[in-house]
C-alpha cells in the first residue's frame, strides 16, 4: 500500500511538472513559436542603394537604420494585392503599437513602377495607410541593388502605357535597426501571423 502511495505521489508530481512545462514553454520566445516568418540565423547585410522617397529625399540603406522596417515591393495602381498587403501590414503595426510596443516596425513600400509612381503619387498613396508607412521608388538601376539582394522579382511591360500591370514578388522583408535583413514573410500576408511573429523576430536581436 505504501508503495502504491509513493507511486501515486510521484505521478502527481509528474503531472504538475508536465502542466507547468506546457504552460511555461509557449511564453518563452523562440524560433519554434514563429507561425509564418522565416528568420535568418544571422542577419544578412544589405548593399548600398539610393531610392527617392515620397518627399523627394533620398532613401538609402542608412535610412533603414535605427528602427525595424517591413519592406514590400509593388505599384500604386495595383488595386488588389498591393493595398491588401499594405493594409494588413498597417493593421499589424497598429496592433503592435496599441499593445505598447515602442519598437513597432515602420513600413516601406517600394514601388517598382517609377514611371507612374512619382513622389507626389507615392505621398498620396502611402499617406492613406496611416502613420509609419513610407514609400520610395527609383529607376531600374536604382532599384536593382536592393531588389537583387533580396531576391525580389519585378517585370514592367516594355511597351508600358496607360493601364498596365506589373508582376512582382509579394513577400515582406523585415530589416533590423542595423539595416540588415532579419526575416521574410512569404505571401499572402496574415495580420495574426504578423502580430505573433514580429515581436519574436524583433526580440531576438
Amino acid at each position: 500500500m505504501t508503495t502504491f502511495r509513493y507511486a501515486l505521489a510521484g505521478l502527481s508530481v509528474l503531472f504538475v511538472l508536465a502542466g507547468a512545462a506546457w504552460w511555461l514553454v509557449p511564453q518563452v520566445p523562440g524560433r519554434a513559436d514563429l507561425v509564418k516568418a522565416t528568420q535568418f540565423p544571422e542577419p544578412k547585410p544589405l548593399p548600398e542603394f539610393t531610392l527617392t522617397g515620397s518627399d523627394g529625399r533620398p532613401v538609402t540603406r542608412a535610412s533603414l537604420e535605427g528602427n525595424w522596417h517591413l519592406l514590400f515591393f509593388g505599384f500604386a495602381n495595383c488595386p488588389d494585392i498591393c493595398p491588401l498587403t499594405l493594409s494588413r501590414l498597417a493593421s499589424a503595426r497598429a496592433q503592435l503599437v496599441e499593445g505598447g510596443r515602442s519598437a513597432a516596425p515602420d513600413i516601406l513600400f517600394v514601388s517598382v513602377d517609377p514611371a507612374r509612381d512619382t513622389p507626389e503619387v507615392l505621398a498620396e498613396y502611402a499617406g492613406k495607410f496611416g502613420a509609419g508607412v513610407q514609400a520610395a521608388t527609383g529607376d531600374p538601376a536604382a532599384l536593382a541593388p536592393l531588389a537583387e539582394s533580396l531576391g525580389v522579382y519585378f517585370d514592367v511591360p516594355e511597351d508600358a502605357a496607360g493601364d498596365y500591370s506589373v508582376s512582382h514578388s509579394a513577400a515582406v522583408f523585415v530589416t533590423n535597426p542595423d539595416g540588415e535583413l532579419a526575416a521574410v514573410f512569404s505571401a499572402p500576408q496574415d495580420v495574426a501571423a504578423l502580430v505573433n511573429d514580429l515581436p519574436i523576430v524583433m526580440a531576438s536581436r
Binding site: 500604386a76 488595386p79 488588389d80 498597417a90 500591370s165 514578388s169 509579394a170
Partner: protein
C-alpha cells in the same frame, strides 16, 4: 382559364424566373487610393439557372474602364491578368474576392472617394445586363484596429 387562375400561373412563372436568373450578392468595393488610381469591386455572382452565364463586359460610369481581372500568386510572384470573358457554370457561384478575381475600375472621370456609390452593370453574352450598386469603402482605414 379563369382570370384568377391565369394570375396565379403568372405569379408562379415570375417567381420561377426569379429563381433562375443570375444575381449578385455580398458586393463591396474600395475607392482609389490616389487621384488617378484604380478602384476595385468584389461580389458573388450566383447562377442558379440550368445554363451557363457568360459575362462579356462590365461598366461603371464613374470610370473610363471597368475590366475583369484575376490576381494570381505563384512561386511568391503576384501577377494580374485581364480577362475578356467569364463563364459561370449552371447552378454555381463565382466569387470575386481579394487576392483573386476582381472588377478593376480605372481612369476616373473625376476624383472618386470613399463613400461614393458605384453603379455597376455586368454585360452577358445574350445581351442581358445585370445591374447592382457598390458603395466604395476606404481600404486603407478598414483594417486598422
Amino acid at each position: 382559364m379563369t382570370p384568377s387562375r391565369a394570375a396565379l400561373w403568372l405569379v408562379v412563372l415570375v417567381a420561377g424566373c426569379g429563381r433562375e436568373a443570375p444575381s449578385v450578392a455580398d458586393a463591396y468595393g474600395y475607392a482609389p487610393l490616389t487621384a488617378d488610381g484604380a478602384a476595385v469591386a468584389y461580389f458573388v455572382l450566383r447562377n442558379p439557372g440550368p445554363a451557363p452565364v457568360v459575362l462579356t463586359g462590365a461598366d461603371c460610369p464613374l470610370f473610363a474602364r471597368t475590366e475583369f481581372h484575376a490576381t494570381t500568386l505563384a512561386d511568391g510572384i503576384a501577377d494580374m491578368q485581364k480577362l475578356d470573358e467569364l463563364r459561370v457554370a449552371a447552378g454555381s457561384d463565382m466569387r470575386f474576392e481579394p487576392g483573386g478575381l476582381h472588377l478593376m475600375m480605372t481612369a476616373p472621370a473625376a476624383p472618386v472617394t470613399a463613400g461614393t456609390v458605384c453603379s455597376i452593370v455586368l454585360e452577358q453574352s445574350d445581351g442581358s445586363r445585370l445591374a447592382f450598386d457598390v458603395t466604395l469603402r476606404d481600404r486603407a482605414a478598414e483594417q486598422r484596429p
